[in-house]
């Protein structure tokens, strides 16, 4: 059934038990992103020290896809240099915009590969990218402020 392809167990696990959820201090910048078609929203904070992502914390309202992908994001980028975090982001964005034709690299995206099935549903791609767009924006703000 197609539904299971999209909602992999990994996604449902992250949805039910999200990692890193909740807004925390200290942080250098915050970004609020909203998906105007459905009203889903996320507020995400980053704490960057010496060009390393020390913490990502977030809160929001949204579907399982948007919440799970933000949870996976925290696993992928916290503790990583900003450059490496952005490479992972680029890989995730490429996967999501690939209409299901991009083969994900598990070494880079870890749990993020579970979203390969979501990429076949164009209407849900924005959901999967909501937290990532907030991350990109928050890091840019933190660098602008530095």
């Amino acid at each position: 059934m197609q539904l299971q392809q999209m909602y992999q167990e990994i996604i449902l696990d992250h949805y039910k038990n999200p990692h890193g959820r909740g807004l925390r201090d200290p942080f250098d910048a915050e970004s609020f992103q909203v998906n105007p078609t459905c009203g889903d929203e996320v507020t995400l904070r980053v704490h960057v020290v010496d060009d390393v992502v020390r913490d990502v914390s977030y809160d929001g309202q949204g579907c399982s896809i948007s919440q799970a992908s933000t949870s996976v994001l925290t696993d992928l980028v916290v503790g990583k240099p900003v450059g490496e975090a952005f490479k992972k982001m680029d890989a995730f964005v490429e996967l999501m915009q690939g209409r299901g034709k991009v083969e994900p690299d598990e070494d880079v995206l870890e749990d993020g590969i579970a979203f390969a099935g979501v990429a076949k549903y164009p209407a849900r791609v924005k959901c999967a990218l909501l937290g990532w767009m907030a991350f990109k924006d928050a890091v840019a703000r933190s660098q602008g402020a530095a």
């Binding site: 459905c38 009203g39 889903d40 579907c63 399982s64 896809i65």
Partner: protein
């Protein structure tokens, strides 16, 4: 609503809609419950568009050759039939690209009134004036008024909602006051299906000399509507929600008002005399139809109106009412489902919004889609309404003449399926 009309023969009607017999998502029978967003077109409409393009296509209102003549007749003939359908006169209907453009046309034309002649004085709004809307509005009949207020310095006010999602009309006179210049409100909510008491709002507006602008997008397709009888000054509706083509909307304006209203979009076709120093404008409706208009879309909408007339608007309304009652009962019996808006079908059209505890509307819609059931998820361009109902977003099923009780059952079963899939059953 009549109880004497014979019920619809939905099986026969469905044969007119080829798209309804297709399958989706690996062979699932399509259950189309999203007509509130856009309706499907019967063969009669598709054939009318095609026949026009194959036999009479030409630019309308220009050229003197035979095709131009026939195309113009087809275009204006459609205007006449649509006018008859909504209780308006021929010259009171303006073709727009969609209903949204109709609201913008009125709002921008009012904004232009300050720099127009004395005949436009009654449309001028400025500091101290008030524009009244409601929390129930689709963004199309809200944002243009916010913008008009912002451009002119007028104040935006609004009717609030009761806890069950109806207009709170307990103190009409405190909202509509002698300062009010325009009252814009929906006939039927695109989210909850609530049908508003147009007479109450028109009477209050007329008492203070304010204009009324009605969003008729969800009423004209689904029941008998007569703009003259309603007494509204302006109304806007769209073709694609009433079995017609996309790319066409209709603005109704009371004749005396359209004659005094300054133009919104300017250019060719809408002029009377053009000199380098300035121009004068054609009488309505041409004044509001600048540029080459849509043609096969107007013809298609004329055919849609013919189709709806033959079926009968009273019967369509009664059919949708029965589906709504069944949906409210079916969904209401599922534990964990919260029906948004009124819990009953009184003064209500065929729209049923709901939430499922523990299943985000987007996820619920995905499960329903996997079963072949097409619904709308999100805020349906009515964000303030959702805030009033304490919902971030919702699942919305909407009904039309071609839907069946079996499809309502499929929806209810699908909701249970979604609960099972996300482990909240």
């Amino acid at each position: 609503m009549t109880t004497t009309a014979a019920p619809l023969d939905v099986t026969a009607l469905r044969a007119d809609f080829p798209i309804l017999s297709r399958t989706v998502r690996d062979g699932k029978r399509l259950v189309y419950l999203d007509s509130g967003a856009t309706s499907q077109r019967p063969t009669q409409v598709l054939d009318a568009e095609k026949a026009f393009l194959q036999t009479a296509n030409a630019a309308v209102h220009r050229g003197a050759h035979q095709l131009a003549e026939e195309a113009t007749d087809a275009y204006e003939g459609a205007r006449q039939r649509i006018a008859d359908f909504v209780g308006a006169d021929f010259g009171e209907l303006v073709f727009t690209k969609n209903a949204t453009e109709g609201f913008n046309l009125v709002a921008y034309a009012m904004g232009n009134a300050a720099t127009s002649g004395p005949e436009a004085a009654r449309f001028v709004v400025g500091p101290g004036d008030e524009i009244v809307v409601t929390e129930m509005e689709h963004h199309a009949n809200l944002v243009p008024w916010q913008q008009l207020a912002a451009r002119t310095g007028a104040t935006l006010k609004w009717f609030k909602l009761t806890s069950d999602g109806r207009l709170d009309l307990s103190d009409v006179d405190s909202v509509i006051t002698p300062r009010t210049k325009v009252v814009a409100f929906t006939h039927q909510s695109n989210v909850t299906g609530v049908i508003n008491p147009v007479d109450v709002l028109v009477a209050a507006a007329q008492k203070v000399g304010a204009l009324t602008v009605l969003d008729a997008c969800q009423s004209v397709p689904h029941g008998p509507v007569d703009f003259h009888a309603l007494g509204v000054d302006f109304a806007s509706f769209s073709g694609h929600k009433m079995l017609g083509p996309s790319g066409i909307g209709v603005l109704y304006g009371r004749r005396s008002l359209l004659e005094a209203l300054p133009p919104f979009i300017t250019g060719g076709s809408m002029i009377e005399l053009v000199k380098m120093e300035g121009s004068t404008f054609a009488p309505p409706p041409q004044r509001f139809e600048a540029g080459s208009p849509m043609t096969s879309q107007a013809v298609g909408l004329g055919a849609a109106v013919d189709y709806l007339t033959v079926v009968g608007m009273e019967r369509i309304h009664a059919h949708e009412h029965a589906l709504t009652v069944a949906a409210l009962e079916g969904l209401g019996s599922v534990r964990g489902v919260r029906l948004l808006g009124p819990q009953d079908a009184v003064d209500r059209g065929g729209a049923v919004p709901f939430e499922i505890e523990g299943v985000h509307p987007h996820d619920a819609g995905q499960v329903l889609d996997s079963l072949g059931i097409a619904v709308r998820v999100g805020h349906h361009c009515a964000w303030p309404l959702h805030r009033c109902l304490n919902a971030q977003s919702s699942v919305r099923a909407t009904f039309y003449l071609y839907n069946t009780l079996d499809e309502v059952d499929a929806l209810v079963d699908g909701v249970r399926e979604a609960q099972k899939f996300f482990g909240v059953a």
